[in-house]
Amino acid sequence: MRWATRAGAHIDRAACAWLIRRVLDPAAEFVFVSDASEVPDDATPFDMRGVELGHHGGDCTFETILRRHDLDDPVLWRLAEIVHEADIDDERFDAPEAAGLDAVLRGLSMVCDDERVLELTGPMFDGLYEYLRRELLLDRPPG
């Protein structure tokens, strides 16, 4: 399946692309557009204004996708808190990891194109997921 989002991927889009590939569509192809009118007919748009998979009711797009697809994995919801704070920074959640993640993603988008950002952040989110999974299991930061 094809998925479309705005060019200039930052934290929410990069995390959503990872989530889509990991949970919804392992063969996902991503198209980056600069305007909503450029979204191909066969692509599902996400993290764009005026689409279902966007910011809704105070949620960032990552949270919206979890909700719309009834994904209740607590590790993904913990990751969602970090993505939410890195993206929106409204202090709804306590996520000290967010500031660092925001800086890393902003820096990457300065030196890489969108495809490369997704390539590099895929393993990073895999690792973060594993870290958060162990943290939840141990109920403390894993060593």
């Binding site: 200039g8 930052h10 204004r49 005026g50 966007g54 910011h55 809704h56 009711g57 920074d89 409204d90 500031a99």
Partner: protein
């Protein structure tokens, strides 16, 4: 970011919006969000930020929230017609941030006489506040450095970063 230093006005992103008077809750939520972003209020239902990828996206999501709550919103990329106009807008934004930084300085000074544990807590709170102000500070006033210095002085007086002190304040 805008090229305020030169005489040529920079690019701004403008949000023109209208929302129903009732219910008031979503209207207030949008108002708060715009305050948090530090927008310049150019008129009734017209706000502006210096254009960059982040500010444009932030205002796009506010526009989405407006339309989801029964309002109308349009987003514009615009250039002030004169550098003087831009300077006036930037001056008002800088003055608003300066006031926030002065409040931080006053808080830091007020906390100076408190117990060590209270000073440590004040440092944490004021650093968060500096971060919040910094996110919406597009034309830093000189109060910024003074506010940072005041919080740092408080941190040093409370020996923040020393394990036993950090532990005791939890």
């Amino acid at each position: 970011m805008t090229a305020l230093a030169g005489g040529v006005p920079g690019t701004w992103v403008l949000l023109a919006y209208r929302m129903p008077r009732e219910p008031s809750r979503p209207r207030i939520a949008v108002w708060r969000k715009l305050e948090r972003l530090g927008v310049a209020r150019l008129g009734d239902g017209l706000v502006a930020l210096p254009a960059d990828a982040r500010t444009r996206e932030q205002l796009e999501w506010v526009a989405e929230e407006v339309t989801e709550n029964g309002g109308t919103a349009t987003l514009w990329i615009a250039t002030p017609a004169s550098a003087a106009q831009e300077r006036d807008v930037a001056r008002a934004m800088r003055a608003a941030r300066a006031e926030e930084y002065r409040a931080v300085i006053a808080d830091a000074e007020a906390a100076a006489g408190a117990s060590e544990a209270e000073r440590v807590r004040a440092v944490r709170r004021l650093r968060r506040e500096l971060h919040r102000i910094g996110r919406r500070d597009y034309f830093p006033p000189h109060e910024r450095d003074a506010a940072r210095a005041a919080v740092q002085a408080l941190a040093e007086s409370a020996r923040v970063g020393t394990p036993e002190v950090d532990e005791a304040s939890r």
